[in-house]
């Protein structure tokens, strides 16, 4: 819009904050954008150019790596498993956190402080360090090699933060709206569904997508609880591509692209909600 820097005029002084010189925005942003995009370009390049090529443009283009990874390296199966884990984790986290968050936002009850303290403390519990006892629990429940174990573990470790976020979102919805609905004859559940839920949409999208992206990316639970290759998820598949002595870079790149696509798509759609979602519900309670 304003490409030429304007001389400071007293009449416009109050808008000075919005008028940082353009180069002070575009130059650092451009540099940062390079840092962000070169790695993405690199992986795209490796996934599309034939093995052995050193060209810096993916031409001639080949989809062999994708085909190979998808069929020979079972990424088709991994993909299905990851989608299942991601979607179920998303639903469970959102539902359980919604119920809990509502209780925290709207009621005072005896164990509330203890419960909040538990939520905070759980942030210090390193999931990776609970691998062994968790493994034993899932073994006891006969859930080793079932995706259920990963779904439960992911959900549990998403819950504390999700619940705090959702309860903050709910606090931002005026209580009087709900009360008005009760006066009009709704019961608590209906009032919640009709009045509160629609206003929570940005928050729920933020929390749900967080849960999805986290479970999609997370690695150790799946590595630990799923021994059967048929049950593995994408990050574990990627790790096996990296672990080999002679790394097949084309396959690794193609696998990486397959792993990135769903989260990048999710991210592109939710970006707008994410920021409003956070500013409404995040750090300040």
């Amino acid at each position: 819009m304003h490409t030429t820097p304007e001389p400071p005029r007293p009449a416009k002084r109050h808008r000075n904050w919005d008028e940082v010189p353009r180069w002070q925005i575009y130059l650092p942003l451009g540099i940062y954008l390079l840092f962000t995009l070169i790695p993405f370009y690199w992986i795209l390049l490796f996934s599309l150019r034939p093995a052995g090529s050193t060209s810096l443009v993916p031409w001639p283009m080949t989809f062999d790596h994708f085909e190979k990874v998808w069929t020979e390296r079972s990424f088709g199966t991994y993909f299905q498993n990851s989608v299942l884990v991601g979607v179920v984790t998303l639903l469970m986290t959102t539902l359980v956190a919604l119920a809990g968050g509502y209780a925290l936002a709207r009621f005072n009850f005896r164990i509330k402080r203890a419960f909040m303290l538990g939520l905070l403390c759980s942030q210090f519990v390193p999931g990776a360090l609970l691998l062994v006892p968790l493994f034993e629990i899932f073994a006891e429940l006969q859930m080793i090699n079932s995706l259920g174990s990963v779904i439960i573990a992911e959900t549990v470790f998403q819950l504390p933060l999700s619940m705090i976020l959702i309860s903050n979102f709910i606090k931002n919805v005026p209580y009087s709206l709900e009360e008005a609905a009760w006066v009009d004859g709704c019961n608590r559940m209906t009032a919640f569904r009709i009045v509160v839920l629609p206003l929570l949409r940005p928050g729920l999208i933020a929390v749900g997508s967080f849960a999805f992206v986290h479970s999609w990316n997370h690695f150790l639970f799946a590595l630990m609880f799923l021994n059967n290759q048929e049950k593995q998820t994408i990050p574990v598949g990627l790790n096996t591509l990296m672990g080999a002595d002679s790394v097949d870079l084309g396959a690794l790149a193609a696998g990486g692209i397959i792993a990135a696509v769903p989260v990048v798509i999710v991210f592109a759609f939710i970006q707008k909600w994410l920021i409003t979602g956070f500013s409404a519900g995040a750090v300040k309670g």
């Binding site: 000075n16 490796f46 209780a103 942030q123 009087s176 920021i275 500013s279």
Partner: protein, 311 residues
């Protein structure tokens, strides 16, 4: 807001409302699923870790299993140099990583908070690595750092450096190389959190400062930064805890190597339990890590006077 609503609402008899819509048990029912899940899959395993930390417990050496008292802890503090090495590296890793993430994240948030042409696209692009994490970040940077076909090759083509160097397998370059890889996904995360909070700074404050003739730098120090303080304190703490605990990236990027120089304490614990099956010792190390985290967090929150005057 709650008080305002209470004042504004028509006087409905509170007793009837409680009787019809708010049974006593409702809040307990609502938190029950979350509470049960967390008790079963966080609290119970944590207790398990504390219990095992006092045991000699190694399925591959069952004849030695049994109560060990504080032996595991004594061993860690007095006889295990690896424990100290990994602890020092963890501190270094978290300190450098989170410090840089905060610095760059804040700068990035300030930039994309401005109004400029292409802002939506710019935001989406610079934030996109946030969605990518752990193993995928490793995969990407393994490709970039590859000694045969990575950027070093192209740098060498251009006359910078030499062919065949791999930044990930040289003890002198692996630390910065891993830091840069982790910054790539960590900075956007910080920037998103800070940006969210930036948007709630009242524009009036800046306008008032403007009228008083405060420079932009002064405005940043006296308006923006104080406003962001709580968000920065909390996100830095959370990020530090996550960076400390997260093993995905280093496990897959460097595997803790070369020669163990990038092994964090949690990574050492994972190796001790998953590979060496020394569950008792790993649990003791976990307990130590947990105590250190808790202690540092409390000190940090105290020092930064988190929450300030409200509440």
């Amino acid at each position: 807001m709650a008080q305002a609503a209470a004042v504004a609402k028509p006087p409905t008899p509170p007793r009837r409302r409680r009787a019809s819509a708010t049974p006593r048990r409702l809040p307990y029912l609502l938190i029950a699923p979350a509470a049960l899940l967390m008790l079963g899959f966080i609290a119970y395993p944590v207790i398990g870790v504390f219990y095992y930390s006092l045991q000699e417990y190694n399925p591959t050496k069952p004849w030695r299993n049994g109560f060990a008292g504080l032996d595991n802890f004594v061993h860690a503090f007095t006889e295990d140099p690896l424990f100290w090495d990994t602890l020092v590296f963890s501190a270094k890793w978290v300190f450098v990583e989170v410090g840089l993430q905060l610095l760059f994240g804040l700068a990035l948030a300030l930039i994309v908070n401005q109004t400029f042409v292409g802002r939506a696209l710019g935001r989406a692009l610079v934030f996109s690595p946030w969605a990518v994490s752990g193993v995928l970040t490793s995969a990407i940077w393994v490709l970039l750092y590859n000694s045969q076909t990575g950027i070093t090759r192209y740098l060498a083509d251009a006359g910078i450096g030499s062919y065949g160097t791999s930044w990930l397998s040289d003890t002198s370059t692996v630390f910065p190389a891993a830091i840069v890889a982790d910054l790539w996904r960590g900075v956007p995360f910080f920037a998103i959190l800070i940006l969210a909070d930036l948007q709630s700074v009242s524009k009036d404050l800046y306008e008032a400062a403007e009228v008083d003739g405060a420079s932009r730098i002064k405005q940043f120090w006296h308006i923006t930064l104080p406003h962001l303080k709580d968000a920065i304190v909390l996100s830095t703490l959370l990020r530090a805890v996550w960076e400390f605990n997260n093993v995905d990236l280093l496990y897959t990027l460097t595997g803790g190597g070369p020669a163990g120089v990038t092994t964090t304490l949690p990574l050492y614990i994972a190796n001790t339990s998953v590979d060496a099956h020394n569950f008792g010792y790993a649990s003791a190390l976990t307990t130590v890590a947990f105590v250190i985290l808790l202690f540092c967090s409390v000190v940090y929150l105290r020092l930064s006077k988190f929450g300030g005057e409200d509440k």
